[in-house]
C-alpha cells in the first residue's frame, strides 16, 4: 500500500516535471554544446532518432504533442525499469 502511494506520487511528480519542462523550460542550450562549438567540434549524426529533440516530426513546437511524448516515455521508462528489476531478481 505504501509503495502504491509512492508510485502514484512519483508518477504525478514526473508528469508535472514534463509539463513544466515542455511549457516553461524547454529551451536547451547545453553548456557542453556551447563549449564544443567554441572549441571547434561539430556533431556528426550517425543515427536518425525517431523523435529528435523530444518532438514529433511535423508537430514541432506543439505543446500538447511534446507533453504527450514526455508523459508516454516517462511511463515506458517506469515499465522498463520495473520489468528489468523483476527480471534481475528472478536471476535469469
Amino acid at each position: 500500500m505504501e509503495n502504491k502511494k509512492m508510485i502514484i506520487v512519483g508518477i504525478i511528480a514526473s508528469i508535472i516535471f514534463v509539463i513544466v519542462g515542455c511549457a516553461l523550460l524547454s529551451t536547451s542550450a547545453e553548456t557542453l554544446d556551447k563549449i564544443a562549438e567554441e572549441l571547434g567540434a561539430s556533431e556528426v549524426s550517425i543515427w536518425n532518432p525517431p523523435l529528435p529533440d523530444y518532438e514529433i516530426p511535423g508537430f514541432e513546437g506543439n505543446l500538447i504533442a511534446n507533453i504527450g511524448i514526455g508523459v508516454l516515455f516517462t511511463l515506458i521508462i517506469f515499465l522498463i525499469a520495473f520489468g528489468l528489476g523483476k527480471a534481475l531478481k528472478r536471476r535469469f
Binding site: 509503495n3 514526473s14 564544443a36 556533431e43 528489468l84
Partner: protein
C-alpha cells in the same frame, strides 16, 4: 552533459565503452544478488522521475541552460550500481529515441553520468554521519562533487579527443566552471529530496544497497 556523436574520437569512445561494460557486468551481477521486491518499485519510480526531470532546462550563466542529472539521489537510495542501471536506461532511451547523447559516445556518457555521477555522491554520502544534518550535508556535497567531477571527466574526454582543436587545459576548466553552478542546483534538489524522505518515508533510505562489496556496510 550528453556528448553527441562526432565529438569524441574512436580511441576515447572505445576506452570509455570498455570501462563502462566492466561496470555494467558487476552492476548486473550485484543486482541479481541483492535486488529485492522492496527496491524495485522505488527504482522504477526514480528512473521515470529523473527522465522527466531531465526535460526541465533551467537557465544559468552565459546564455546556457542546465538540467538535473539524478545520479546522486539514485545512488543514495538504490546504491551506486542501482543508480548506474537506472541512468543506463535513461541515457539509452534518450540516445535511441531523442538523439540526446550519441551512440558512439554512449559509453562515455554512461561513464560520466552513470558511474562518476553515482559513485562519488554515494562515497561522500556514506562518509558523513547518519544523523539528520549529516545526511542533508552529505547529500548536498556528494551531489555537488559528483556533478563537477562528471563534468571534469566529460571535459577530459573532449580535450583528449582529436576532434577538438584545444586540449584539456581549456576543455576541463570550461566544463568544471559551468557545472559548478549546476552542481549547486543538483546539491540543493538532492538535499530537499532527502529532507522529504526523512519526513515521509525514512525506510526508503535504509533499503539494501546495490553496491560493490567494498562499499557495502
Amino acid at each position: 552533459m550528453h556528448i553527441p556523436d562526432g565529438f569524441l574520437d574512436l580511441r576515447i569512445c572505445l576506452i570509455t565503452y570498455i570501462i563502462t561494460i566492466i561496470f555494467w557486468f558487476f552492476a548486473f551481477k550485484r543486482a541479481k544478488e541483492t535486488l529485492t521486491d522492496k527496491q524495485i518499485p522505488l527504482m522504477a519510480v526514480l528512473t521515470a522521475m529523473f527522465f522527466a526531470a531531465q526535460m526541465m532546462n533551467y537557465p544559468i550563466v552565459g546564455g546556457t541552460t542546465a538540467h538535473l542529472l539524478g545520479g546522486p539521489i539514485l545512488a543514495i537510495t538504490l546504491g551506486p550500481y542501482g543508480g548506474l542501471i537506472s541512468m543506463t536506461i535513461i541515457l539509452l532511451i534518450q540516445a535511441l529515441f531523442f538523439g540526446d547523447g550519441g551512440l558512439t559516445t554512449f559509453g562515455a556518457n554512461v561513464w560520466n553520468m552513470g558511474i562518476i555521477g553515482t559513485f562519488l555522491p554515494y562515497i561522500v554520502w556514506i562518509l558523513f554521519p547518519k544523523g539528520r544534518k549529516g545526511m542533508i550535508a552529505g547529500a548536498f556535497l556528494g551531489a555537488f562533487i559528483g556533478d563537477v567531477l562528471a563534468a571534469a571527466s566529460a571535459g577530459l574526454e573532449l580535450g583528449l579527443s582529436t576532434k577538438f582543436l584545444y586540449g584539456i587545459s581549456i576543455s576541463v576548466p570550461a566544463m568544471v566552471l559551468h557545472h559548478s553552478i549546476i552542481g549547486i542546483g543538483e546539491g540543493i534538489v538532492t538535499s530537499i529530496i532527502i529532507i522529504i524522505l526523512l519526513k515521509s518515508r525514512p525506510d526508503l533510505l535504509n533499503l539494501p544497497k546495490i553496491a560493490p562489496k567494498w562499499l557495502s556496510k
